[in-house]
Symmetry: C2
Subunit: 172 residues, 2 copies
């Protein structure tokens, strides 16, 4: 709490004047995060016309967001995943919000994966939907491994494999 107030440059009174409770504030933070991520991912896809490239861009964008710029630790992770594992199981309100977040990620991946590949081929909707979900689970998993202290090199390999499985999509 002191850390939070300090970062916000706010006293307790002001904080509780602005938010009903810590919990309520956190819900607002989640919403903020969602729209920030929405914006970042939309921008990452701007101008990209190739399916594989689009998927790669999204993965990179998410990994960039998940990397702590201040360098207090190497990885800050994704607020959706972090929150899910820390309080998702207990707090239904949070869980519902997280669902929105997951759908948001999935939507972006679906958009990316519905582009034509370099040969001009387009995937059927069912494959797009399934692979988008696979991609979301995939990066969330990679972020878990990142926070578990896995080496950058291996994380890159994991990302690469995930990407390949997305390309191998005709099989789905």
């Amino acid at each position: 709490m002191p850390e939070l107030l300090d970062a916000m440059g706010l006293g307790k009174a002001s904080f509780y004047n602005a938010f009903a409770s810590k919990h309520a504030a956190f819900l607002t933070v989640l919403d903020c995060y969602f729209s920030a991520v929405d914006h970042v991912l939309a921008r990452a896809l701007e101008g990209v016309k190739n399916r594989d490239e689009a998927a790669a861009c999204l993965l990179d964008a998410i990994l960039t967001v998940a990397r702590d710029p201040e360098g207090r630790t190497v990885w800050r992770g994704c607020l959706i995943g972090n929150t899910a594992l820390e309080m998702g199981a207990r707090d239904e309100t949070v869980r519902n919000r997280l669902n929105q977040g997951v759908r948001l990620l999935r939507r972006h991946f679906a958009k990316a994966l519905s582009l034509a590949d370099s040969d001009g081929r387009v995937l059927p909707d069912s494959a797009v939907s399934a692979l988008a979900l696979h991609a979301v689970a995939g990066i969330q998993g990679i972020l878990v491994l990142a926070k578990a202290g896995m080496l950058e090199e291996e994380l890159r390999a994991a990302k690469q494999t995930l990407l390949l499985t997305l390309k191998a999509s005709p099989l789905i």
Copy 2:
């Protein structure tokens, strides 16, 4: 803490008599968890001779462990992932232990994926290694989604897609 002591049927004194600190106790818990998971996964692979089947068995075993049997919440998740996101970024000791856990999971998947498929074909080591990592990231990701409140049905679909990407391994 009271919850913990209650579950252990221990008083504070006894607890601090047995463990140097809460933190130390948690490290022991992690080790316990690892060996339990090791045992469960080894058993899940017993007698399975087919690569695809083996991968499916491992995924199912992990999902079973991750499902809360007492039903306080639907998903308790995997202690490795839970811990990674909750304290992995800050606590180096924990992070090192988690690394062992991840390697353990990966080892089991590598073992499963190095089996021959139904046509008797075996994957090259590089593919086994890459896919094992992909599988570990994949289930951890699925567990994140589970805790984020995703519907069983979708989780099943995610598992299915992950399995398919593991089968599509000749492409890797």
